[in-house]
């Protein structure tokens, strides 16, 4: 069952505070968070979060397409390297 709309998106309050502080300071820093369950809000776009995966903090650059998803979706808890083959990395 999906979450009731009247409740609004869930975000741990400390994530909001940290994001607000980072935005006000204007410094280029990784905001370390442990809250994988928090929803990505529009005010997080452009910030870089370090989302804990149980082992280390994975950098997550928040973009518009990620709004509404949870932070944990971008920080996998299992390592799988696979083969590089012809895979490409694009510098944005």
């Amino acid at each position: 069952m999906s979450r009731s709309v009247w409740k609004g998106p869930f975000v741990d309050s400390y994530v909001l505070k940290k994001a607000e502080a980072a935005r006000e300071s204007g410094r280029n820093e990784v905001i370390k968070i442990w809250s994988r369950r928090s929803t990505i809000l529009p005010q997080f776009v452009g910030l870089t979060f370090g989302v804990y995966n149980g082992h280390k903090h994975i950098p997550v650059n928040v973009s518009e397409e990620m709004i509404g998803q949870k932070f944990g979706e971008y920080s996998p808890t299992r390592t799988y390297y696979g083969h590089a083959a012809d895979k490409k990395a694009k510098r944005k």
Partner: protein, 168 residues
């Protein structure tokens, strides 16, 4: 760089009784493996011309020109298929093959060495360089963006990074 061999797939066994093979593709678009013909073994002693017949679970059914019987196909089980680096298409500026980035030395803007690229990963929030710190087994993930990685010099084998605070 052109002599470098890149693993693009593997033969996982025979299929049927007429000499067809099961092939796994490691390419970004699995069908692209056919474009890198002829494929070779890592030492380059054997060459294979691959024709994909149809997709199947975990790979393709493929016909290899040099393989005519089921026994020959069985004997190739586990063989990795390699393409030469110069067979891969040229990429536009600011796009790089994972295999080109892996192994490059990473320096900060002051010229101090931060480590070497161990792998490139993408978990859905942009590409990340996994940098292995010198003399340690620990790794650090660095976002592969213009702001954080302003310079990638493939010829010199170096990357200049300006990592955000709290990353290293």
């Amino acid at each position: 760089m052109s002599d470098e061999m890149i693993c693009v797939g593997a033969i996982s066994g025979s299929y049927g009784i007429v000499g067809e093979t099961r092939v796994k593709s490691f390419c970004a678009d699995p069908y692209d493996i056919e474009n890198y013909n002829p494929l070779t073994t890592q030492d380059g002693t054997r060459s294979f011309t691959l024709a994909l017949i149809r997709p199947m679970k975990n790979g393709f059914v493929a016909r290899i020109a040099e393989v005519e019987t089921k026994e020959q196909a069985d004997a190739l089980k586990g063989t990795q298929l390699f393409a030469r680096r110069d067979q891969l298409p040229t990429l536009p500026t600011d796009e790089f093959y994972y295999s080109d980035l892996t192994g490059l030395a990473v320096y900060d803007t002051g010229g101090a060495e931060l480590g070497r690229v161990k792998s490139v990963q993408n978990h859905g929030a942009g590409d990340l360089l996994e940098v292995q710190l010198p003399g340690q087994s620990a790794t650090v993930l660095v976002p592969f963006t213009q702001a954080v990685v302003p310079t990638v010099d493939l010829d010199a084998g170096r990357i200049v990074a300006d990592p955000p605070e709290g990353l290293f």
